[in-house]
């Protein structure tokens, strides 16, 4: 007869799981507390006004699909950061809310990048809903229009400002396919990942003097410190961080950038190796691939089933379009 006591003890001490530092617990607790307070604010708003909605809407290709909420006014961020266990509001007690809502003038965000627009709207405690719209006159990633209009009066925590962000030209621009030597490869800003996901965005900037086009997916190869190719599998199906949209032609005027996301699930138990650099080849280009070393970011390699596949997005005109669309 098997000794379950012994087996249980061996499992409890033998499992190779790293215990995250206490700071990680505190940060996560902080996020939960914020979420609860936000839920309380939303509930109050719904009761008062009959509902608020915030989201991103993609109008690409004529069809409209809801993406994810990018930003909502979060009253918690203005308060002092929680410092310890006892500073949290115990559950069951209604937290103090920055109510009542007050009138505020809607800032002008037309002409800003969507990051700037997010910030400007958040600073006055309004919500934002973003839609991606093709545009022949406004550069990709720039706000084309907004509603309510700049200067009109809105109500903090209740009003959502809808902004349309350019997703690039309606038709591909005339020009050849981009070759490696037409492009500069940079790493994009860090992405706020879901638990366990390792996400990084790549930025390909047209450094040639003329228009070129990208279509499809780059061929990405990840290498370890010693330059050895890591045996990852690559997928184009999208995942919880990465769009599953079909590729579209991304036209790059000189100085414009295209974006690509790479994402994988972390190694839970043990990392066998770590990617230190990547090579990226663009479709149809016979020139040597672009390459770059990781800095401030790493992708672990291990043979764990959920962790061997790296998801690659198609080329996109804006970083916003890289997100999972559902």
């Amino acid at each position: 007869m098997v000794d379950l006591e012994d087996a249980g003890r061996r499992l409890a001490v033998g499992v190779s799981v790293e215990t995250p530092p206490i700071e990680a617990v505190r940060n996560r607790a902080d996020r939960i507390a914020r979420r609860r307070r936000l839920a309380a604010v939303s509930a109050a708003a719904i009761l008062a006004l009959g509902g608020i909605a915030a989201g991103i809407v993609s109008t690409r290709g004529g069809s409209s699909s809801s993406l994810q909420v990018v930003n909502r006014p979060s009253p918690a961020v203005s308060g002092p950061a929680p410092t310890g266990v006892s500073s949290y509001v115990p559950s069951g007690v209604t937290p103090a809310l920055p109510f009542p809502p007050s009138p505020v003038s809607v800032p002008r965000v037309i002409g800003m990048t969507y990051d700037q627009a997010n910030l400007a709207v958040d600073q006055v405690n309004l919500g934002i809903a973003i839609s991606l719209v093709d545009s022949d006159t406004v550069d990709p990633g720039i706000v084309i229009s907004q509603n309510p209009a700049p200067g009109s009066t809105a109500t903090t925590f209740f009003t959502t400002v809808s902004v349309a962000v350019s997703d690039g030209p309606t038709q591909p621009l005339t020009g050849p396919s981009c070759r490696s030597q037409d492009l500069r490869l940079d790493f994009g800003g860090r992405v706020s990942e879901m638990t366990g996901q390792n996400t990084t965005d790549l930025v390909l900037t047209n450094i040639s003097g003329s228009i070129c086009n990208l279509f499809g997916y780059p061929t990405v190869t990840l290498l370890d410190q010693a330059g050895k190719v890591l045996p990852f599998e690559y997928s184009h199906t999208g995942d919880m961080m990465t769009t599953s949209a079909q590729p579209r032609v991304v036209s790059l005027r000189p100085g414009w950038s295209a974006y690509v996301r790479i994402n994988k699930y972390r190694c839970d138990v043990h990392a066998d190796d770590t990617a230190a650099a990547l090579r990226l080849a663009v479709p149809g280009s016979s020139s040597p691939p672009l390459s770059s070393s990781f800095s401030g970011f790493s992708l672990d390699y291990c043979a764990e089933a959920a962790s061997t596949t790296v998801t690659i997005s198609p080329f996109e005109s804006t970083e916003l379009a890289l997100f999972d669309q559902h």
Binding site: A7, G8, R28, G84, P90
Partner: protein, 167 residues
């Protein structure tokens, strides 16, 4: 406040690995187990004032973690595939000790499996298992007895199959 946090830290460091190991034994999924444990400990951090005075924070964190694990499974649609008892399913992880035992445990119905894991991996007394699972103490004893018997049967069955294969 600082003393509360010290007390929490000590308990957390003491229990984290045990909670993850238990959830892995119940679900067979490393990532879901880790995620559920992380969520449960963060919630415990928020509720520490309350749960530390009950004297049973272990049962509390297991209950929250098991609920979160179940929700994750349901949400991801993996529940049908991973949660139900399948004799052919893999043990929690190939590197784990006693994989044949945990493989046998995975063949148990969910309630028996959870009770057994909470008893032998989480090392909870029956009263706390009852609290963690939201069932009566008498039910825990009966469930554990049935689970032990079934594991023993399953192990002797696989052992005799092995013997036939190698004999």
């Amino acid at each position: 406040m600082a003393r509360d946090e010290d007390e929490f830290s000590e308990w957390y460091r003491d229990q984290h690995r045990r909670v993850v190991a238990s959830l892995m034994a119940v679900s067979g999924l490393v990532d879901a187990a880790t995620e559920a444990a992380d969520e449960a400990f963060a919630r415990a951090f928020l509720a520490w004032d309350r749960i530390s005075t009950t004297g049973q924070p272990d049962a509390w964190v297991f209950r929250v973690a098991l609920n979160h694990l179940r929700r994750q499974m349901r949400r991801s649609g993996l529940e049908r595939r991973f949660w139900s008892s399948q004799p052919t399913q893999a043990a929690p992880s190939p590197e784990l000790p006693d994989s044949s035992v945990w493989q046998a445990v995975r063949t148990l119905p969910l309630r028996q499996r959870t009770a057994l894991v909470l008893r032998y991996v989480a090392d909870l007394p029956e009263a706390e298992i009852a609290r963690a699972m939201g069932i009566r103490r008498g039910t825990v004893a009966a469930t554990l007895a049935a689970a032990r018997e079934r594991v023993a049967t399953e192990l002797s069955r696989t052992e005799s199959e092995e013997a036939v294969r190698h004999g």
